[in-house]
């Protein structure tokens, strides 16, 4: 009995160790091979000589701008959707549909978003392949993250607060604004940050919505095409003229992207952790 128990326990511990080991190894590998590449020049200069030299600044810029743009859409929509789900439409049919839609959006393959972005934003709405179309497409992709995070935070606000508010003569919106939302703020923040982390790393939806292989200039309007870190990695590892030669650039780019997404996620985890600790 005791022996079997130990075996089982060790097996689960082993599984955990393997996962953490792999994770660490990925980060380690990219860090080890990429760290040497990161210089100020690498971060601040455009690529040169057929992208075999120089930096990745346009890709960083493109990634950041399209992500920021995405945030502008996704946060209000996500937050209000969550407010609707949790505050207004509890148990209503409409919210059942919304929930189904949100769940679904969360698991639709990213390439399908790409198709949709192309079909809807680029072609149908004639926004063209550019920052805006890409940001909107990714925005829809990350919508569930914001909604779920916000909803979790809203749900954690005890119902008794709301009832107390109503019983004091507050209106619904007053209750939401002055009691519920302040409480849920860390959750909303977490959602936003997580969506940034996720959005930055997505490539597939960009493929047909405006990402460019190489641009000699920075995009000047939201309809312009743009370069992107993730896409850059993909391109450099699979389509560039000399894959072996550009290995350092590949690693460097991967490291930059990884650091960006990781740091956003770590910040989100930290906020969430503090939030949960405070609650209990």
């Amino acid at each position: 009995m005791r022996f079997k128990e130990k075996i089982y326990l060790s097996l689960t511990a082993l599984a955990t160790l393997i996962i953490i080991g792999l994770l660490s190894y990925i980060i380690f590998d990219i860090l080890k091979n990429g760290i040497g590449v990161i210089t100020w020049e690498f971060l601040s200069q455009p690529p040169r000589e057929g992208m075999t030299k120089g930096g990745i600044f346009p890709a960083i810029y493109g990634t950041l701008v399209r992500t920021l743009l995405m945030l502008v859409f996704v946060v209000p929509i996500g937050v209000f959707t969550a407010i609707y789900l949790n505050e207004y439409g509890r148990g209503s049919n409409f919210s059942k549909w919304i929930r189904l839609a949100i769940n679904n959006l969360a698991s639709v393959p990213s390439i399908v978003f790409g198709l949709f972005g192309m079909g809807f934003f680029v072609l149908f709405l004639r926004l063209g392949a550019g920052l805006l179309s890409a940001a909107l497409t990714i925005g829809i992709l990350t919508l569930p993250i914001v909604v779920v995070s916000t909803e979790e935070a809203l749900r954690a606000v005890p119902n008794s607060y709301r009832e107390a508010g109503f019983a004091l003569g507050a209106t619904k919106w007053q209750v939401i604004r002055s009691i519920v939302l302040p409480q849920a703020l860390p959750g909303i923040l977490t959602g936003a940050i997580l969506s940034v982390g996720r959005g930055m790393g997505e490539v597939a939806p960009l493929l047909f919505t405006g990402v460019a292989y190489y641009l000699p200039y920075l995009p000047s309007s939201i309809f312009d095409q743009f370069m992107d870190l993730g896409y850059h990695i993909y391109i450099m590892t699979t389509q560039s003229f000399n894959i072996e030669l550009t290995r350092p650039i590949q690693y460097g780019t991967a490291l930059v992207l990884l650091m960006l997404t990781l740091s956003f996620n770590i910040i989100a985890i930290f906020i969430r952790y503090r939030m949960r600790r405070k609650r209990s």
Partner: protein, 299 residues
């Protein structure tokens, strides 16, 4: 006062409907572009359901384009199987370990760390797989090609693990502490408690975790695009190169002529993918909801 309330309600409802509208639009626009397969006589000749499912070759840019889905489906299934076989035991094991066997403080650390996996963009995973896993697989299995279903599945597992792990762990964790204590107090060991009380109670959630992991594996694009070898062929060996549905769309959509049979076919593939994930997701979320309700409903 009244007006403000009404206004708030209207605005919120409108914004909340964006999600529904998006899903509908996704469906409509993907369906719209794939409709020619059924209605455009020109295209119907080249690409139709019979061709998709009852021929053997996917050669869209040969002189006589061949649009069989079978090699793509085979490829997708292969990588998915590999991914699940690797990811699931690891995820569940780790979920059990974190939720059942380690004291609170460590769990607080280990869980977020594992969840960090999901923060790694899939291109980066693909890149890592290209650099490392492919070599490992080649060395391990003496595969003829570095890029094959096993490599891709292995890399995909990285994408699946955080999802499956998180959902399983959450499900295990929502099982009330009192149930565990009751079991322990009856003289059960921790393992017995985990397997006989906690797991059954959370079974719906665990299953949902697998389903959603599956959906992710099937739908993942960049990793497979980078490390599956992209050869559309029907073979039994997992060590052959494969081409999956998402990778096919990603790789070919860029070069396809707008409105062509190939174009419509790719959209139809998208529609297929969308429908499959839709169904899987529906089942999974129903299961999740039911489990949660059951666990919560008892008090």
């Amino acid at each position: 006062m009244e007006v403000r309330e009404k206004l708030a309600y209207i605005i919120i409802s409108l914004l909340a409907s964006v999600a529904i509208i998006s899903v509908i639009l996704i469906f409509i626009f993907i369906a719209r572009e794939s409709l020619p397969i059924f209605f455009n006589p020109e295209i119907k000749k080249e690409a139709n359901l019979r061709v998709f499912f009852f021929t053997r070759d996917w050669q869209p840019i040969s002189l006589i384009p061949k649009y069989s889905f079978i090699p793509l489906i085979v490829g997708t299934v292969k990588v998915t199987i590999v991914a699940i076989v690797i990811a699931f035991p690891l995820s569940l094991g780790a979920a059990l370990f974190t939720s059942e066997f380690i004291p609170g403080k460590f769990r607080e650390i280990i869980k977020p760390v594992i969840e960090l996996f999901s923060a790694i963009p899939s291109v980066v995973l693909g890149f890592f797989a290209l650099m490392n896993i492919a070599t490992w697989v080649q060395v391990l299995f003496h595969a003829s090609s570095r890029l094959n279903a096993v490599t891709a599945g292995f890399a995909l597992a990285f994408a699946v693990i955080p999802i499956t792990y998180t959902i399983c762990e959450d499900a295990l964790n929502t099982v009330p502490r009192e149930l565990r204590e009751a079991s322990i107090a009856l003289g059960a060991t921790k393992w017995q408690t985990a397997v006989k009380v906690v797991l059954p109670a959370a079974s719906g959630g665990v299953f949902a975790g697998i389903m959603l992991g599956l959906a992710r594996a099937m739908g993942e694009t960049m990793i497979v695009l980078m490390v599956s070898g992209n050869a559309a062929q029907i073979t039994l060996s997992f060590l052959d190169s494969v081409r999956t549905i998402p990778a096919t769309i990603a790789a070919e959509m860029g070069e396809v002529a707008f409105g062509s049979a190939h174009y419509a076919t790719l959209f139809f593939l998208g529609l297929l993918l969308f429908s499959i994930t839709f169904v899987i997701n529906y089942i999974a979320s129903t299961l999740l909801e039911r489990t949660q309700k059951r666990l919560r409903g008892e008090r």
